[in-house]
């Protein structure tokens, strides 16, 4: 029982990453009709916003310490972050330690800017082009973005820890009457889950309760008609693209402490998030979120050794197997609409 509770928690946690990426992907698809293979790269850029802020905060001046030697036997160059020089070690230490949460503020304008530039500079010319062309151009863009990151940060993962205040684990077991220590869950992962829930709820509320959102939803349903109403739908769609980029980026920022970011993390998530979107149903926001959590939970269950002993290797294929079953039983995914991306 406790094992199952834990795997559900794992699944929800994993699912929240899937859902956040898939949400943006399906938002872009639903509003702009663009298949965005660069969406994974946006997630990766978000994670590297956290890395970059950390690097900026630890920009250092160098002093030479004659008493210590470096590995070549030369006097040791000691690096001290500028902010430590300015504010003293204690404040600086705290700021640096909190760089990941701070990176949220840092990432929002950057990701919005990236989204705007991408949409205005490239994507908007591809609205009327075949999906194949969209795939090619956004895939090319994804490669370029990740190669740029690789050029500056290398291929090795970069550890980006969460503040130590979040480093422990929360003991669910004690709360639910199990033995203490059996059902524990790391604070940061709980934060991630909560963050994802807030973002998802925020996007839904935004689309449901604002005029802007209503126009966009109408546009998703029938773009031409809304265009005929004399509403400048293009401008709103640009904003939607920036919003989707921002959601992906924030998902990346918060993910950085869970797994050290590397330049190809976007590609690792890309295929999975496409599967999530399609299983959820193209163009359905709710479907994307539901499929994200569903696949996350199933993947976690498939990883249990009790399951693996019966079905060896099921953890390797579970997501794809579920995708096949869902698509064969529900032609348009969990909540897809008819006629979307079927030609």
């Amino acid at each position: 029982m406790d094992a199952i509770i834990l795997q559900i928690l794992n699944g929800l946690d994993k699912g929240s990453a899937y859902a956040l990426i898939a949400l943006g992907l399906t938002l872009i698809f639903g509003t702009l009709g663009v298949v965005n293979f660069a969406h994974g790269a946006l997630f990766m850029l978000g994670a590297f916003c956290a890395v970059t802020l950390n690097k900026l905060l630890t920009l250092s001046f160098i002093t030479i310490d004659e008493t210590q030697k470096d590995f070549l036997g030369n006097p040791l160059k000691v690096e001290t972050p500028y902010i430590e020089g300015w504010f003293g070690p204690e404040v600086a230490g705290t700021v640096i330690e909190w760089s990941v949460p701070l990176a949220i503020l840092f990432a929002i304008p950057i990701m919005i800017l990236v989204g705007l530039v991408m949409e205005r500079g490239l994507i908007k010319y591809f609205y009327k082009r075949p999906h194949a062309d969209q795939i090619l151009v956004t895939f090319g863009l994804a490669i370029v973005l990740q190669e740029i990151i690789k050029y500056f940060y290398g291929a090795n993962p970069i550890p980006t820890p969460a503040p130590s205040a979040f480093s422990g684990s929360f003991d669910f077991g004690a709360l639910l009457g199990f033995d203490p220590g059996t059902i524990i869950y790391p604070y940061w992962r709980l934060v991630y889950f909560g963050f994802a829930a807030v973002v998802i709820a925020g996007v839904f509320a935004f689309l449901r309760y604002t005029t802007f959102g209503m126009v966009v939803r109408a546009g998703m349903a029938d773009r031409e008609t809304v265009g005929l109403l004399g509403i400048n739908i293009d401008k709103r769609f640009t904003i939607m693209f920036a919003l989707a980029a921002c959601v992906a980026g924030l998902a990346g920022v918060m993910y950085a402490p869970i797994n050290s970011p590397n330049y190809h993390m976007g590609m690792d998530f890309l295929v999975l998030s496409f599967v999530v979107v399609v299983v959820g149903g193209m163009g359905s926001l709710g479907g994307a979120v539901a499929a994200g959590f569903l696949l996350g939970v199933l993947e976690s269950f498939a990883s249990m050794s009790q399951v693996l002993n019966v079905l060896p290797g099921i953890n390797q294929i579970i997501i794809y197997l579920v995708a096949i079953i869902v698509l064969l039983t529900r032609p348009r995914g969990l909540m897809g609409r008819k006629g979307v991306m079927e030609d």
Binding site: F71, K150, N156, P186, I258
Partner: protein, 447 residues
């Protein structure tokens, strides 16, 4: 086949430089070369086949730095590095057999197909007489088989799976790096000393060949000293989040977690394990411990503070204080500004060993090189006295057991050496079950 010959081209490359373009057309068949890519001009071409894209690109970049340094030293440049400490004095600093060393580079992408394509182009297009490099066992095995077919020497880079010199060994291939079995044999006594002989181990194993051999090696050596293996779960290579594999550990009564992972897998699984508080757990009245059989500095860097206090094994580390290691660190560090990784070390050593074997054999002929390397004993390359065993072309030398350092002084100072396990303890019989099933075959000189 009369009339058909494996092509050789280094000859023309060196002989005919631009400008001799008006020479009479010479049409010939069946040029009588003694072996593939026999260098006939004033230079010889080596092929450095390393991952330049993908997850191991940084490791590949470090390997390439080491090769460039080795070429510089072999051609007589720089401070000579480990050539000065090497027990063999055959190398003159004038290239190999007086021929200047040139090199070509390629990208393996850590895919066996691509690695072979890249190696083939080096052999067919650039006339490389030796291929070296790589950062995974799949690639090493694939390229080693290719070199065997093509008749060139393969000096493996970083490859740790038993198979490379076990069931997939080849006469034209040589491995300096240590292997899974050696990791197990070196780690076990240290683990026993630190964690006792009454432990329950839980293995997470990367679901591919290297993972299997490593798990087998660690299991057999730890079980030999009394540990119990409670569970061994295979994890997909593509996994990025290991939480679903870590949480069952909490439910088991295991008190040690062994992560048979490498590269990004290891960075993520270790990070996740620490997140879930495994380091702070008490099970069976003992501190819960994590073990990482194969360590590299780049992985330690990726995992950050999570590696502190965690045991693992490594082929070489820059903090070794023997003369050879110091000389290598000195010349590498001076040139590049940071200390070399174990991948860089093994690649540098392989380049030197190849050059030395050619010098001693007096020929680039792969069969002569094989003969010179088989059963060759040497010292002064950073690992103490070492034997290139004739039966499987595996180097036998001391193995380092290391631990993540508690208080690193720099971004490179992440591991500390706990013990240098003497070679005798990691030596095994050539027909050991973990290495069974392969045949070395005979050396193939190509033509």
């Amino acid at each position: 086949m009369p009339g058909f010959k494996l092509d050789r081209r280094g000859l023309l490359k060196s002989g005919a430089v631009l400008g001799a373009g008006l020479a009479m057309p010479t049409i010939f068949t069946g040029r009588a070369n003694a072996f593939t890519n026999e260098p006939t001009g004033s230079s010889v071409t080596l092929g450095f086949n390393v991952p330049q894209s993908g997850a191991y690109a940084d490791e590949g970049a470090d390997e390439l730095r080491a090769y460039e340094l080795a070429v510089e030293h072999l051609n007589g440049g720089g401070d000579g590095g480990m050539m000065n400490t090497f027990s063999s004095k055959a190398l003159q600093g004038n290239g190999i057999l007086g021929k200047k060393i040139e090199y070509v580079t390629g990208d393996t992408q850590t895919k066996s197909d691509t690695a072979r394509a890249s190696a083939k182009s080096m052999i067919e297009k650039d006339g490389a007489v030796m291929i070296t490099g790589g950062s995974s066992s799949g690639v090493a095995v694939a390229v080693q088989a290719l070199c065997q077919e093509a008749g060139v020497i393969f000096m493996a880079g970083l490859t740790h799976s038993n198979d490379t010199t076990g069931k997939d060994k080849k006469a034209n291939g040589f491995r300096h790096f240590f292997n899974s079995y050696m990791s197990g044999a070196a780690l076990a006594p240290v683990l026993e000393r630190n964690y006792g002989s009454d432990r329950k181990a839980y293995h997470l194993t990367a679901d591919y060949n290297w993972g299997y051999t490593t798990e087998e090696a660690i299991r057999s050596s730890t079980e030999a000293l009394g540990w119990e293996t409670v569970e061994a779960v295979k994890t997909p290579l593509a996994a990025t989040d290991f939480s679903a594999y870590i949480t069952p550990v909490l439910q088991s009564d295991a008190d040690v977690l062994v992560l048979n992972h490498y590269g990004a897998n290891m960075v993520n699984s270790l990070t996740n394990a620490v997140q879930f508080g495994l380091r702070d757990r008490m099970v069976n009245g003992k501190n819960f411990e994590i073990v990482v059989p194969l360590y590299s500095r780049l992985m330690a860097k990726g995992a950050g503070a999570n590696v502190k206090g965690i045991f693992g094994s490594t082929n070489w580390h820059w903090s070794l204080t023997d003369d050879a290691s110091k000389a290598f660190v000195q010349s590498f560090g001076t040139k590049y500004g940071f200390p070399p990784s174990q991948a860089a070390h093994t690649c540098y050593v392989q380049a030197l060993l190849y050059a030395d074997a050619v010098e001693r054999a007096g020929s680039f002929n792969p069969c002569a090189v094989v003969e010179a390397l088989e059963g060759y004993e040497f010292d002064g390359l950073g690992n103490g006295p070492t034997l290139y065993r004739a039966e499987d072309h595996q180097c036998f030398k001391d193995v380092l057991v290391v631990r993540g350092k508690e208080n690193p002084t720099s971004e490179f100072d992440l591991l500390e050496i706990v013990e240098v396990t003497p070679v005798a303890q990691v030596t095994y019989a050539p027909d050991h079950p973990q290495f069974a099933g392969g045949q070395l075959g005979a050396c193939n000189p190509g033509a």
